[in-house]
Amino acid sequence: MTGKAGPEHEDPRARRPAIAVACATLFRAGCSGGVRLCRLSGGKATLMHIMEGYLPASHAAGWFAVSAPFVVAGAIRLKRIVAERPQARMTLAAAGAFTFVLSALKMPSVTGSCSHPTGTGLGAVVFGPAVMALLGTIVLLFQALLLAHGGLTTLGANVFSMAIVGPWVSWAVWRLTARLGASVAVAVFLAAALGDLATYATTSVQLALAYPDAASGVLGAVVKFGGIYAITQIPLSIAEGLLTVVVMNALSGRAGMADEIGVLSGEVK
């Protein structure tokens, strides 16, 4: 096994904390059976999340540390919502299902590349951003394990962008636009679309921190990675906003009514 861990696996720049070394050893053990398989389909296209092994170990561990408390808080919040308002269980599961569907839909964009929406805005608007940290983590874990999309070492970073920053931005936009007097539909559209964009902006920053540009530093790298993701993502985030409004209306059956979201979250009967 150690013989297999050839020099190609070693990244001399990354000083590894003990936990990351343990993880890496575990991965190699797991890979040994499927290693030929991995090689065969190596370089396969995966989309949007940071791919397995593309963050230095120190960054990977750091993003895990940042994300973990949010996921735990999300689990506690979820438990409380289910205990207080059992009638909200169906909507909670539907919010998770919506993220599940949208993350599976790889869509072509104007730049000639493909990406997928995140679908975290719906749950964030109805239940607040905390629960989406947990629901989004489940979706990311599924994709990392079964689709080689994203990765386990990069899970912390991907959770931070898709399941934490995206939902918090969605929720903030929702509160702000609703307070400014926008209709429910407009507020939901903006919340979902901007949450989607925020997710990919965060991914760009995460990559830039790991791979600062030789000449222009971290900031230059943010612009470079941002350019790759953002322009692709703008039309898709608009589509996501529209679809979120449609599904929200269908779930509540109260399109255009002021208490639409309250009914969904179980706060209004």
């Binding site: 696996h9 296209a45 299902a97 993350s103 730049t111 394990l145 080689a148 589509a239």
Partner: protein
């Protein structure tokens, strides 16, 4: 009823946004994943970079991968449809019972 019409309008708009790069001349390209481009940018910044771990398991082919993606979408959409249908029928019962 108005809400129903609006929903179809929104769905049509979303479909148009997704279809536009495929059918409009001058737009589009080879429709690779933007992660591929991200990876290319990483390799440009760090030539010769090797990922330090490989995924535990990868779908053995594009066909199996698309099967799993389709399964993911089908499970989610199926459940969403179930919840929407349940809500609608319970509302109808409410109205009928009143």
């Amino acid at each position: 009823m108005m809400a129903g019409h609006r929903s179809w309008g929104l769905i049509a708009a979303a479909a148009a946004i997704i279809a536009a790069p495929l059918v409009l001349p001058g737009l589009g390209g080879d429709f690779k994943g933007s992660d591929d481009l991200g990876t290319a940018a990483i390799l440009q910044a760090r030539p010769g970079y090797q990922p330090w771990v490989q995924p535990l398991w990868k779908p053995p082919s594009g066909e199996v991968e698309s099967l799993l993606f389709a399964l993911q979408a089908a499970l989610g959409a199926g459940f969403l449809g179930y919840v929407i249908g349940r809500r609608q029928s319970s509302r109808r019962d409410d109205v009928a019972g009143r």
